[in-house]
Amino acid sequence: MLNARSRAAPAADVLLGHRAGGAGIDLHGPLRDASDTILASRAIDGDLVAFEVIAHRHGPLMRVLAANLLGSELESDDVVQEAFISAWRHLGELNDPARIRSWLMRIVSNRALDRIRARRHHDDIDAADRASTGPSTEALVEHRMQLDAVWIALGRLPADQRRCWLLRETAGYSYAEIGETLDIPVSTVRGLLARARATLLLEMEAWR
């Protein structure tokens, strides 16, 4: 039995995003203005182009989040790519398409934390984490001093404090979830967050 699919191939090709080179989507196309809800809905239906727009829209933030959780940019591209592959495969589990960004943040965070756990078996993480992804000194010259101050202060936080802060404040983890994923008691999470909060707040207020 021949299962011929050729008849639908031309139209499907347009939609499934089979273009030469793969990258280079027309970000000015109709989907550029589409909401996350629409894009995620289409991606759930198998629209690769919609997923590509999502990757361009949210991928950079996810990569920076991964780099800051890992304390290094070396692995962040791999981590964010793995996370998006996993997201594509599990899109059917996304109940509320409007929440795709926070859903992706979770997946990226989990992937980054997997790496950190794996790394623990190899070497002392604190040594590796010391090299933070703080900004270059040129960045200091920019206008938005508070933003700079927070970015710099984030980069200077000890790795465990930075991780807790980002998981709580950007990825929306609960205290219990942070404790579970980092394998530390909730009381420790509270302590780390309290120190991070106080430091960041002082650094930010200094630029008022």
Binding site: A11, D33, H56, A194, R195
Partner: protein, 191 residues
């Protein structure tokens, strides 16, 4: 590390204030709300939360082409992983063979047809009914966002028309009904 600026919070701690902020400042706590020091700290905490995300976002926006590499790799990996869905038969003049088109491809056809319209962006496409039995009536449900400022009834009619035409042209599905739900409104970004 000194904590001097936030040492005196009228008996409250930063952690308490942070939890209070997270609960949306409800139920209202007069002890906190009536303290100038607490309100200042709450304001700072709220700003800090926004700045934390903004700082990451600004770093992310620094180099627009920075992420092209891994995104291209990503697409390369997942492009062949589209779940085909059900097979939808198409009559074949050669009795020895059978033709079918996948549900995913039909959804793609629906999106392609709808994307040709200027003021609407289609979201989900669901095909309900027994698509594998030729001639069995099926119902198509689609969701879509409409561009702000357009009357909805003609927009929906137009959407129904192009979707019906595309399905009639490329499949042999017997369409009982096309349900359209406009669940979002968007504004076209300035070019």
């Amino acid at each position: 590390m000194t904590n001097s600026d936030f040492d005196d919070l009228d008996g409250h701690t930063l952690e308490e204030l942070s939890d209070y902020l997270e609960s949306g400042r409800t139920p209202r706590d007069p002890g906190i709300e009536n303290s100038a020091a607490c309100r200042l700290a709450l304001e700072g905490l709220a700003r800090l939360r926004a700045l934390s995300l903004d700082a990451l976002q600004r770093e992310a926006d620094r180099d627009p082409t920075r992420d092209d590499g891994w995104i291209a790799g990503l697409l390369d990996i997942i492009k062949d992983e589209i779940r085909p869905g059900r097979d939808i038969p198409i009559s074949d003049p050669d009795a020895m063979t059978s033709l079918s088109v996948t549900e995913a491809a039909v959804r793609g056809l629906v999106r392609a047809a709808a994307d040709a319209l200027p003021s609407v962006i289609i979201g989900r496409t669901e095909i309900e009914g027994d698509v594998s039995t030729p001639g069995a009536p099926v119902r198509v449900r689609i969701t879509a966002a409409a561009e702000y400022g357009h009357a909805l009834p003609p927009l929906v009619e137009e959407l129904r028309r192009v979707v019906a035409e595309a399905l009639a042209e490329h499949t042999e599905l017997v369409i009982d009904q096309i349900d359209v739900t406009i669940d979002d409104v968007y504004r076209r970004a300035e070019r």
